[in-house]
């Protein structure tokens, strides 16, 4: 057999393999930002569930990576198809972070769909209407909410700091034992810095809901100077997972993490079972991930069905809360009814619902958020 015939054979069989299922089934393309667990959520749980309910549909999921970077890739893909004047876009459902979803809505890349689905009525949180200052009501369904908190080792820190002030004092006493990932290596570090600015820059309310005043950032110099001094006694970690890794290896004893990642890692035995969480005062930010469907999705109806299933109380209970340790995206009361009491309380072991309500903050509105990050780059790290 010549090389050429082998190649031709391989190529034609590959073409057949790709072409056949496409003709037999409809393919629903889901593109998700976020870490690997977000992809696994669709491949291992939600996708098979949907395929079972709608025979002949194949769910294909693509992960674009964590943080705003991952959601930015989705935005760029939609923008490119829009600019090319395509009538049908090849993404049906997107799962994206807050800030970038707001930008997509502003650029007219998303469809107004929430009133078309049954579960649209079940959302109550403010983030379903407002994504960091952009009105998104109707255009998004929250998939879940997540929260940042300080993870610590109670064997070594029996009385963890209760607030940013106490944390500053603690870090001075025990240098390099607290670690976070700066702002360029994942959102848990960004959340920690945001909480710092809420505490020391003042006027938290305006930062969270506007109006935007570009002169405001000039008043933050002292907060940044203090943060720079604080950073002297801190260990820097390489990312959200990096903080958990270092906690696991005992290289740090305290650091900000995402609550869902923390519980998932603990469930997998990747961090010691005795580690605990503390949501420090006056509060740290959390954010939702949104389901949305692009303005010109090829399978619009199926996409809506998919999101409807994904935000139904049963799926929110089993998938979001029980399997992946996220806080539900739809109103908690609808979800609680579908869950064992035990599973529900496990989610709130370290951070009680009351603490969550009092100290769980949103991220600031887009322009202030950029100012906070740029200020950090300019005044703390350069």
């Amino acid at each position: 057999m010549t090389l050429k015939s082998v190649l031709t054979g391989a190529i034609s069989s590959a073409v057949i393999a790709v072409a056949l299922p496409a003709s037999a089934e409809t393919q629903l393309n889901v593109m998700t930002g976020g870490s690997q667990n977000m992809v696994e959520y669709v491949t291992d749980y939600l996708g098979p569930l949907f395929e079972e309910k709608y025979p002949g549909v194949k769910v294909r999921v693509t992960g674009t990576g964590p943080g705003d970077a991952g959601s930015q890739k989705i935005l760029e893909k939609l923008e490119a198809q829009s600019a090319a004047g395509k009538e049908q876009w090849d993404i049906d459902v997107i799962v994206a972070a807050q800030k970038k979803t707001g930008e997509m809505k502003e650029k007219g890349l998303l469809a107004d769909f929430r009133n078309n689905i049954e579960t649209g009525k079940l959302v109550t949180r403010a983030t379903a209407e407002n994504a960091l200052g952009v009105y998104v009501g109707g255009y998004v369904m929250p998939m879940f909410h997540s929260q940042t908190a300080i993870a610590y080792n109670p064997a070594l820190v029996p009385n963890p700091p209760e607030s940013y002030d106490e944390l500053r004092a603690w870090v001075e006493k025990y240098p390099k034992q607290f670690g976070y990932n700066g702002i360029k290596n994942g959102m848990s570090g960004v959340a920690f810095v945001t909480g710092w600015m809420y505490t020391y820059a003042g006027d938290t309310k305006t930062l969270q809901s506007g109006p935007y005043d570009p002169a405001k950032k000039d008043t933050w110099a002292q907060a940044y100077a203090d943060l720079k001094a604080f950073n002297e006694n801190v260990t820097f970690t390489p990312g959200n997972a990096g903080t958990l890794d270092m906690l696991n290896r005992g290289e740090i004893v305290m650091g900000p993490v995402w609550v869902d990642m923390f519980y998932s890692w603990q469930g997998d035995g990747r961090i010691p079972p005795n580690l605990k969480l503390k949501l420090i005062a006056p509060g740290m930010p959390g954010q939702p991930y949104y389901y949305a469907t692009p303005a010109k999705a090829a399978n619009k109806d199926l996409a809506e069905k998919f999101i409807e299933l994904a935000t139904s109380p049963a799926v929110q209970a089993e998938g979001i809360v029980n399997r992946f340790n996220w806080y539900p995206g739809i109103d908690a009361d609808h979800v609680k009814a579908a869950l064992d009491e035990e599973v529900w309380t496990k989610l709130f072991t370290d951070v009680t619902p009351l603490e969550l309500a009092q100290k769980g903050k949103p991220f600031p509105i887009g322009p202030y958020f950029d100012d906070i990050k740029e200020g950090y780059e300019k005044q703390v790290s350069n």
């Binding site: 943080g67 705003d68 970077a69 930015q72 930008e103 990932n181 700066g182 360029k184 290596n185 260990t235 820097f236 970690t237 390489p238 990312g239 990096g242 890794d245 270092m246 290896r249 005992g250 290289e251 950029d370 990050k373 740029e374 780059e377 300019k378 790290s381 350069n382």
Partner: protein, 284 residues
């Protein structure tokens, strides 16, 4: 090909056709995006009047990172050069056949490992309580309390050196194998040590190859994103990280492209040496 056949129609046509695919590729995949990023760096994302605001902002925000990048990449290049010459030198001048065979077999391994995998390897190897320190403490070489993390600028240099040394060593070893052995033998007869033969007789003869290898490594290291992103959690960090950050976090292509142009300049300087050298070689 003589000058005569060049002027004949079909031959010339053929030559152009042969070159066309490569030229088109470079045009579409390099020249066009390059021009686009230059325009973007000097304007507000391709719109409005020309200005240098993106560059002043890049310097204001990332001056430390710019310096850090140059220092890290230059330092790595120097260390790679020294190690590559040492490895290739032993392969050429070594007298223990077993040691030479083992080294020959071992040194190429990192060549086949991508940067991102190297970075992940180093992340578990160089951490404070990582594999390296665990081995050192359990064998009693260092005290457990003295263990420190190498996941900072040292980690980047170590990863770069580990990954790029084999490439340069491979080129240099090839060049050393093909030099005239009589010069080495002459040195030996006059009683020069092996180190002296290496430095004074062998290295000058392969200097061009060494320089080409180092220049290529320098350019590659300047463009790597995964290694600084995964290993160096602190600031300052390398320019590739800043570029990704500007785009992902702010959607700001202007400053990202300004940083990119600076990287072009850093590579441009060494590329100029490279071109001059290769022209000289062709001329000779």
């Amino acid at each position: 090909m003589s000058g005569q056949s060049m002027s004949v129609g079909p031959g010339r046509m053929g030559a152009i056709l042969l070159v066309a695919p490569a030229l088109l590729m470079i045009g579409f995949l390099f020249v066009y995006p390059f021009g686009y990023s230059v325009v973007s760096a000097f304007t507000d994302n391709g719109e409005g009047s020309w200005h240098i605001a993106n560059f002043t902002k890049a310097i204001e925000f990332y001056s430390k990172d710019i310096l850090f990048t140059i220092v890290i990449v230059s330092l790595s290049t120097v260390v790679i050069g020294v190690l590559a010459v040492a490895i290739a030198g032993y392969l050429t001048l070594g007298e223990n056949p077993t040691a030479v065979a083992v080294l020959k077999w071992l040194y190429r391994w990192p060549l086949f490992i991508p940067f991102i995998v190297s970075a992940q390897l180093m992340r578990t190897f160089l951490a404070k309580n990582g594999m390296m320190n665990n081995i050192l403490t359990s064998s009693g070489i260092i005290e457990p309390l003295a263990a420190q993390s190498y996941l900072d600028w040292r980690g980047i240099v170590i990863t770069f050196v580990w990954k790029q040394t084999p490439f340069v060593a491979l080129l240099v070893a090839g060049a050393m194998a093909s030099i005239d052995r009589t010069t080495i033998d002459a040195g030996r007869i006059f009683g020069a040590s092996r180190l002296r033969i290496l430095i004074e007789l062998v290295v000058p003869q392969i200097a061009t190859t060494l320089m080409v290898g180092l220049i290529l490594s320098y350019v590659v290291m300047l463009s790597v994103l995964s290694v600084p992103l995964m290993i160096n959690a602190q600031s300052p960090t390398m320019l590739t990280v800043d570029m990704a950050w500007r785009i992902n976090s702010y959607g700001d292509y202007g400053v990202a492209n300004a940083l990119g142009i600076m990287s072009y300049l850093f590579t441009g300087v060494v590329a100029w040496f490279y071109l001059r050298q290769s022209l000289k070689d062709k001329g000779a």
